[in-house]
């Protein structure tokens, strides 16, 4: 049995199921991070003193990470454009590059975390570090999830391109939209945790 509007757009809404679904998912993700941002604001305004990010955190490393994540965001959208042009080789290079950049982000994050632990900075040290570890940790989980999906699309999922190229293109677009959202969250996490 075939589900209608899985690939083609429904005329009156102008959407296909997947695109609407991913936006619903992101709306709920927004509320998830909203809960954490709310916690951050409430704890910060309620505290008698809040450290500057630079007192505990490594700003240059985080700046590099921001650059890495934004670059991965641009490679994934260029990959999608390449796929639209049916340029499979270019698509695969750019998509692999996205995954690579994702891993670089995680590796840098790993060094950042281990440096904290080395200095005996733990989530239990103070509330600032607690919210730092929780928010970035949750963000890392989102990166990991995105990487798993992207790797799936690049290797085992690629056979769909031969069977139903339009459906595959749709999936790549959705993976991109999710990846940009993860980037977007980082764009806000970076200033509020590190710079302010």
């Amino acid at each position: 049995m075939k589900i209608p509007f899985a690939v083609e757009e429904r005329p009156d809404t102008g959407l296909n199921n997947g695109r609407f679904g991913i936006w619903l998912f992101l709306a709920s993700e927004l509320m998830l991070f909203g809960g954490l941002f709310s916690a951050y604001i409430l704890l910060r305004t309620g505290s008698s003193g809040w450290p500057k990010g630079a007192d505990f955190l490594n700003i240059p490393l985080a700046t590099v990470n921001t650059v890495v994540l934004i670059s991965s965001s641009v490679t994934i959208i260029l990959a999608w454009i390449a796929l639209q042009m049916n340029n499979v080789k270019r698509f695969r290079i750019l998509y692999s590059l996205t995954i690579l950049l994702g891993f670089i982000f995680l590796i840098i994050k790993y060094f950042e975390y281990s440096a904290k632990f080395h200095h005996h900075y733990y989530p239990s040290t103070n509330t600032f570090l607690a919210i730092y570890f929780t928010m970035t940790g949750l963000h890392v989980l989102h990166i990991l999830g995105g990487l798993l999906v992207n790797i799936y699309h690049l290797f085992p999922g690629f056979k769909l391109y031969k069977e139903d190229p339009e459906k595959y293109k749709g999936r790549i677009e959705l993976s991109g939209i999710y990846w940009h959202f993860v980037d977007l969250v980082w764009i806000f996490l970076f200033p509020i945790l590190y710079l302010l």
Binding site: M1, K2, I3, P4, F5, A6, R10, T13, L15, N16, N17, F20, G21, L24, F25, A27, S28, E29, L30, M31, L32, F33, G34, G35, L36, S38, A39, L42, L43, G46, S47, Y122, P123, S124, T125, N126, T127, A130, I131, F133, T134, L138
Partner: protein, 583 residues
């Protein structure tokens, strides 16, 4: 059934099925099981409340020394039972039945869709729910017992609680994931997969309420997930998001760095839990309006008003949550804001209830069991709603907060309200689901005792609460002088609760025997107009929903239409075609 479905194996057909109807039935059976379990837990509590510190006869000795030495309940076990009763009834019983079962089964059929938009997500949603429920029950096996900080899991109590609380939090993460997947699926299905001619305003009320409910689940659950993560961090990583400085437990200063806010949890929790109330009640309203329209044989009065009211209700439910927190010392200005929004949100509820009540006017009512349950829903929900108003006003709440009045109030909404509506839905759609009728005699043996017992349980709670009996007392108020005059009610309530349990036996027998022995039902057993009856066989096909996807020509409840000789006009009935054929 077509050949394709019979070639599937047992596992892919009934267990890991992608068909929304099978998943709906899975949700239904699992959640009915959880409802019975949650009810059994409260029966144990009711024994303790009526006969404090007396040994529970017969089964008491089976519970072991950790919970009930010599059959006498320990206070910790009582707390566990309370927390798990709330959690199981809300997150594993009523919501999965109303949203998971009825939503899954009926939404695609009523809008003329072949299935849900994402069948695999649908299956994943059910199995997340199943695992979440299983993890919740694992809590009972933990040292120190299951979660015992109430279903609200307020810190600091929940942070210093035994390991059952950690299991509770992990279970909640699974349940939240499940409801997230389910709600995305429902919304996409309703927006994208409506059949030709099924405009939004032609959708049956049940579909509308499911749509609003799905939005509530989608937007309100994630903050609780965030709060759950923070609480897990507090419990496992030693952070102090919810822990203020210098807390002392049993003479020891707790090793938390401090700086946290206990109220932060309350905000994040009630940001979910107030919309959750409407998640409980909206599907029930949808079911009741279907049953009432069908059994009064006339269109719903003010159907569009009801639709707008439920959308407004859903929207407002996000900005009333702090009325659960009046006694935490909030300022008067912000308390006035939340009192105002709380009063405003009662308006759409009243619109819906009034429309349903006025729909009865002038109808030739068929008093079958489904209709009886729906009719009972109206006054029961009315009592529940009206008793809520004093709680929404800070001045009255000072007296009533945390008393049995609160328990009576929300149980009137959920137990004889929502659960009656769900029973009504089961009696109403059973012929569609199984192709057989349920016994009306057993149904009436189920209905009348249930109605009486429900009121004998929950009305005395209102009286006790007005007398000032706290809801947290392990002995039901026996140690308090002020409770002396209303203490006898504990025995009344407990006896009624036991009888209510007995009253469910006809229902259980009815569900199982009718499945094999019930009279065969026709495809449109109740002469209904919505698509699930009009265009499908009974039971609907195992795989796929319709032989031909129907086209919709009119509003959902065209019973006894003027200018027509027909008693009812199904939504997909083409009048012009019919006329041509007659000519």
């Amino acid at each position: 059934m077509d050949n394709h479905s019979s070639s599937q194996s047992f596992w892919s057909k009934y267990v890991f099925s992608l068909d929304h109807k099978v998943i709906g039935i899975q949700y239904g059976l699992t959640s009915l099981g959880f409802l019975i379990l949650g009810f059994s837990l409260v029966l144990l509590m009711r024994w303790q409340l009526a006969y404090p510190e007396q040994a529970l006869p017969l089964i008491g000795k089976f519970f072991g020394n950790a919970s009930m030495p010599d059959g006498v309940m320990l206070p910790e076990f009582y707390n566990s039972l309370g927390a798990m009763h709330g959690t199981i009834m809300i997150f594993l019983g009523v919501v999965p039945l109303g949203v998971g079962a009825f939503g899954n089964y009926l939404v695609p059929l009523q809008i003329g869709a072949p299935d849900m938009a994402f069948p695999k997500l649908n299956m994943a949603s059910y199995w997340c729910f199943f695992v979440g429920g299983f993890v919740m029950l694992l809590g009972f096996a933990m040292p120190g017992g299951a979660a015992n900080s109430g279903w609200t899991a307020y810190p600091p109590l929940s942070i210093v609680a035994t390991s059952g609380q950690t299991v509770w939090l992990i279970g909640m993460v699974f349940l939240i994931t499940s409801s997230l997947l389910g709600s995305i699926n429902t919304i996409v299905t309703i927006v994208q997969l409506r059949a030709k001619g099924m405009t939004f305003m032609r959708m049956p009320t049940l579909v509308w309420t499911q749509l609003v409910t799905a939005f509530l689940l989608l937007m309100a659950f994630p903050p609780l997930e965030a709060a759950g993560v923070l609480q897990l961090m507090d419990r496992l990583a030693g952070t102090s998001f919810f822990m203020p400085e210098g807390l002392v437990l049993s003479g020891q200063i707790l090793p938390y760095t401090g700086g946290g806010s206990v109220l932060l949890w309350q905000h994040l929790f009630w940001f979910l839990a107030h919309p959750e109330v409407y998640v409980l009640i909206l599907p029930a309203m949808g079911i009741v309006s279907e049953v009432i329209a069908n059994n009064t044989r006339k269109p719903l009065w003010g159907r569009k008003g009801m639709i707008y009211a439920s959308v407004f209700l859903g929207f407002m439910s996000f900005i009333v949550w702090a009325h659960h927190m009046y006694l935490t010392g909030m300022g008067t200005v912000i308390s006035a804001f939340f009192q105002a929004t709380t009063m405003i949100i009662s308006i759409p509820s009243v619109i819906i209830l009034t429309s349903l009540l006025l729909s009865l006017w002038g109808g030739s009512i068929r008093f079958n069991t489904a209709m009886l349950f729906s009719l009972a829903f109206l006054p029961m929900f009315g009592i529940g709603g009206l008793t809520g108003l004093p709680l929404g006003l800070a001045a009255a709440d000072v007296h009533l907060h945390d008393t049995y009045y609160v328990i009576g109030h929300f149980h009137y909404i959920v137990a004889p309200g929502t659960i009656f509506a769900l029973f009504s839905g089961i009696y109403y759609w059973y012929p569609k689901i199984t192709g057989r009728q349920m016994s009306e005699t057993l149904g009436k043996w189920h209905f009348w005792p249930s109605l009486i017992c429900m009121n004998c349980i929950f009305f005395p709670m209102l009286i006790q609460g007005l007398a000032g009996v706290s809801r947290r007392l392990y002995d039901g108020g026996a140690t308090y002088e002020l409770a002396k005059d209303v203490l006898y009610l504990n025995k009344v309530m407990s006896a009624s609760a036991a009888l209510l349990f007995v009253a469910q036996i006809p229902f259980i027998i009815n569900v199982f025997t009718s499945f094999w022995r019930g009279k065969k039902a026709s495809a449109n057993h109740w002469d209904a107009t919505t698509l699930e009856w009009a265009a499908t066989s009974s039971p609907p096909l195992g795989h796929g929903n319709f032989e031909v996807i129907p086209e919709v020509f009119r509003d959902p409840y065209e019973y006894n239409p003027p200018n027509s000789d027909k008693e009812f006009l199904p939504q997909n009935f083409d009048l012009q075609n019919d006329k041509k054929r007659e000519d």
